[in-house]
Subunit: 149 residues, 2 copies
DNA sequence: CGTTTTATGTTAGCCTTACTAACTATTAGC
DNA sequence: GCTAATAGTTAGTAAGGCTAACATAAAACG
């Protein structure tokens, strides 16, 4: 359990925690918080969703998403109305104001990240790219087989 | 704002979020949750701390840490008693049971991470190492100058 | 010294996000 | 058409975060 490989993985995990912790501060300074930014970015970049689907994408249970949507609706960040073909479902979409707010928050976060990593060498940027590819691959593998067959 | 560099950084941020989200599930399945595991690991690997120091290390305010410590104390994970040289401060230390619990949780998480990254190539592991170095460097720079002079 | 200031934790009260359980309403199946 | 299943909501609880207000111990200082 103490191979060099394990050590790297563990240190990477820890570094990721620290990086995201400092980003949280940036996100929250900019008005809306992690879960909201995340759900909104799904609505903006993936498209309108039903509540259940949005909850599944975000990895939370429907009641949690229900409350989140209600709060964002109250702030005018999203619109929600019954689906045409199924009156049980609701169609949640980012409002224009929501889109603008998301873009601004995204920009702020990106600026903070770029500032944090401003002295990264080209080789390090390349290394980040490799790591992103690795992680993306892992996520895809995982989502292909959610449960053992 | 749309340089390749920015794109990589943004995708890295997103990948980190997803990685940690799946790790949260592993942590919580194993008994205690993120903030507890994190605080406890400071006590185990860095050593006993006062409440204020521990709060600062963890990036939370003292009342938050006070409650966390109280809960962990109730579960027998940590010991706390007044400092010798200053009766205002308390000295918080991991108990034997806390150490064991942390080690087990750590092992579980590491196994899950290794499983997630099981098909990483040597080059990718090397890339992770580079990224860890980059992030660590950034954190150190940041902690050296907490506020502008 | 004694008084005032500063430092350290704690308590109380609030918010957000997460959960489960129980409920309503709509759709689908038989 | 009655029953099943499905989609969301409501209610109640817990964890973790915050600020404001407080108690107490130590330090500073006249």
């Amino acid at each position: 359990m103490s191979t060099p490989r394990a050590t790297v993985i563990e240190r990477f995990h820890h570094a990721a925690i620290r990086m995201l912790r400092s980003m949280r501060a940036v996100d929250e300074a900019g008005g809306f918080s992690g879960p909201r930014a995340s759900a909104l970015s799904v609505l903006v970049f993936v498209g309108p969703q039903s509540l259940g689907d949005l909850a599944a994408i975000e990895g939370v249970k429907p009641p949690t998403m229900s409350r989140l949507v209600k709060a964002m609706q109250a702030e005018g960040l999203v619109d929600a109305r019954p689906q045409d073909h199924d009156q049980r479902q609701i169609r949640i979409a980012a409002s224009e104001r929501g889109k603008r707010a998301l873009m601004k928050a995204r920009e702020r976060r990106l600026e903070a990240l770029q500032d944090m990593l401003r002295d990264a060498s080209p080789a390090e940027i390349q290394a980040m790219e490799k790591v992103v590819a690795l992680l993306t691959r892992s996520f895809e593998r995982r989502s292909q087989k959610p449960e053992a067959p």
